[in-house]
């Protein structure tokens, strides 16, 4: 597994600047575009490394898209990278929303535009669904993780606040590993740790 690349600051800024207009409807919709740009086109890091980072970005407080940009920037170029990627990801939507507001104030609502937006919502749902499948593939390693996923989904549908579920997930992960891992590594944990052992050089950059 290769280590993360170290792109130039301008390159980072530009990449996230370009990506952020795709982030309609919140951060998750940006994941497919991020993967394509960072893993496929620019080869800055591996899919595994990206999936891990995106999982952490999704669980942290704050906007998912901004978190993802900042974390990815930090992984590749430390604080300055975080700054470049973060600003790159915020600037376009900031300017676009202000511009839209100015236009809206002048012409008011339009039925066509609203219908197009409703359409976009479904397009966004497609992209988010795709992100869910990508992360889900990494997430569901065995029966425990599958049950965890279903339980979390049920609690969300019942209206439990995400923060409790996130904390519970982290606790269960640690508990499970300490409990099981101390006796005998399960196949899933083994697989995960082998994966990450190979990924070590990548994380060296992070540290």
């Amino acid at each position: 597994m290769q280590p993360d690349a170290q792109p130039s600051m301008l390159n980072l800024f530009w990449t996230f600047l370009k990506l952020s207009p795709v982030s309609f409807g919140g951060g998750y919709a940006i994941f497919p575009a991020l993967e394509r740009e960072i893993v496929d086109n620019r080869k800055w890091m591996t899919t595994d490394a990206l999936t891990d980072t995106l999982s952490l970005a999704s669980a942290a407080p704050g906007g998912v898209g901004v978190n993802a940009a900042i974390l990815l920037g930090y992984r590749m170029r430390h604080w300055r990278g975080a700054l470049a990627a973060g600003i790159g990801s915020i600037l376009p939507s900031f300017l676009i929303v202000l511009a839209l507001y100015a236009v809206y104030a002048r012409i008011g609502p339009s039925a066509k535009a609203e219908a197009a937006l409703t359409g976009i919502t479904w397009g966004v749902m497609t992209l988010i669904l795709f992100s869910a499948v990508r992360i889900g593939k990494a997430a569901v390693k065995d029966r425990t993780t599958l049950i965890l996923l279903l339980l979390a989904l049920t609690s969300l549908l019942l209206g439990l606040a995400p923060v409790y579920i996130i904390v519970a997930g982290i606790a269960i992960g640690i508990f499970y590993a300490v409990f099981r891992g101390s006796q005998r590594n399960t196949e899933a944990m083994n697989r995960a740790s082998i994966n990450h052992k190979q990924a070590d050089p990548g994380y060296m950059y992070f540290i």
Binding site: L117, T126, Y203
Partner: protein
Amino acid sequence: MWSMFLFFLKLGFLSFGGGYALIPMIEQEAARRQWMSGDAFLDLIGVAGMAPGPAAVNISTLIGYHTYGIAGAIVTLSGLILPSAILTLVLLTALYRLQKQAWLNRILYGLQPIVTALILFAVYRLGVGSLDGSVWDKQLLVGISIIGIGWMMLVRYRMHPVFILLFSAICGAAFLA
């Protein structure tokens, strides 16, 4: 303007998983402090939904702009984003420093299924939010077709996500107006 900054600073720490929960809180605070009228706020939500980026972030930007101009927009935006971004980075660097991989693996083991659920839930919420009683059938039909065709474009033809958004916008304007 300072109180505005503080309020959005506080919100920044609460915005787990995208921040949809923040919108009602922002609405209450805006009414209480008389930053804007209820009608103006509804307009803001509409515009915020049209722009890319998280709705809560866009709404904050617009409230700041509406009340104090560009300076206000920058204040609310940084209030909302900075604390959580810095907190996130600090937490994660601490995590990476503490132990290179073992802890991270354990945390990710429990966390990734949760994140998957959060993302699936975001799909559900967007769908429910965009369907409103009267046009339920037609919209659902068009919507599911968009998802089906969009999925094909994405997975089979490996098209760039931006084309899926364009396609869905055109479908929306054509069939849902």
